[in-house]
């Protein structure tokens, strides 16, 4: 059973949602997931791009009213 860590990065301009995900990936086990909530629309593009480049799984992106939730699974 994988664990899911939630990061509420809404309104967090610095260091920003992607940096928070990168930092949190170092603290969780392979197979565990991170859900990051972001009001920064750049994250919707940047996070899946980064996952593809590094080799982690972008599970889903869900758009809500005023923010997006993105889920990443640690793959290595």
């Amino acid at each position: 059973m994988s664990n899911r860590t939630q990061i509420d990065a809404r309104g967090a301009f610095c260091p920003g949602p992607l940096m928070e995900v990168i930092a949190t990936l170092k603290l969780i086990e392979i197979g565990d997931e991170i859900e990051v909530m972001s009001t920064d629309q750049g994250t919707v593009k940047d996070l899946p791009e980064w996952c593809a480049k590094v080799g982690h799984e972008h599970v889903e992106t869900v758009q809500h009213d005023g923010y997006a939730s993105l889920v990443v699974r640690k793959s290595k």
Binding site: T5, I7, D8, A9, G11, A12, F13, C14, P15, G16, P17, L18, M19, E20, I22, A23, T24, K26, L27, I28, D40, G42, D46, E49, W50, K53, V54, G55
Partner: protein, 379 residues
Amino acid sequence: MGKKILIVGGGLAGTIIANGLCRQMSKQLKTGDVSVTMLGTSDQHLYQPGLLYVPFGKFREAELFRDQRKVLDNRVPYFVDPASNIDVDGKIVTTESGKTHSYDYLVIATGSRIMPQTIPGMAEGAHWFYDLDGARKMREALDNFEGGKIIVNVNAPHKCPVAPLEVTFMLYDYLTEKGLMDKSEITYTYPIGRLHALEPVAHWAQPEMDKYGIKYETFFNTKEVDPGAKTITSEEGETLNYDLLVTIPPHQGAQVILDSDLGAGGWVPTDRNKLLREGSDDVFICGDTTNIPISKAGSTAHFEADTIIDNLTSLLTEERWARNYDGKVFCFVETGMNSGTYVWFDYKTPPNPGAPSQMIHWFKLAYNRLYWLSASGLL
């Protein structure tokens, strides 16, 4: 029986709070209705941002330190006896010497520490300026540098998000002044797909780097350093050669947070508005110690500390909550040896850096002295 406030951590956050509480509740301190006690790790208070200047010979080491007992209000008993366990259920803090401290309200401000050793080869192969020993070694390396490839390597998570840009531009000016820039190359690496986490700052930094011929690699998350071969390799598969590697090392929260099982990575889960530990109504978290996704910087600690002072004072004297933290951060950004800019933002306002100027640089130099007024709770 007076109410006991215990502050764990003698850095900027804890010190501002201790001094601010004394200022706000001097009557209650006098009558014994309130007491403020602090536990720290050193009898010296370090001005951390000053370390940036040490490698360039722009700050004398003695200017970085003051006696913590002189920075603190003399009504605060200060013990150089670091906490070894924090029991928030039993409301007891145990120290390394074996003493125990109870509290009515606890403030945890134990800060963060650099962890270059978590990346293979980094501690042996890289220089940094985030502690005095590292800053001294980097100063020596720059003194001996005769030209070549310098990499400024940024890791996540790191303290003070603008420092990587500052050191890059300062290196450029330093090498230019020494007549070494024409036989040197600076490459800046960053973990995400732009040059800074703050998009407006990244948009400003890229043309600046282009103007000076500073190279950059984005999506570069350090996997390992080979000090023998003088190479650095990223998780993304890129390998770069270097003659001098300057790293912004990853950092982690204090060991006592991990040992007390208060938060992964040493970051304590914290309500972003109330600055209370999640699940507690008597434990405030301040500065680098929180897990709030905002900058780990002295400015953040300062604005958070002001909020905690107001709330603790109101709770103890009027039994009411005063105000929430709005996410405010203000950072100077050195853009070379003779110019600077600044950014400020909060949870609702994005940053918008202005054009660099010499005046802002001078103001930053002035703040390097005014810091002690901040720590004293006066500024």
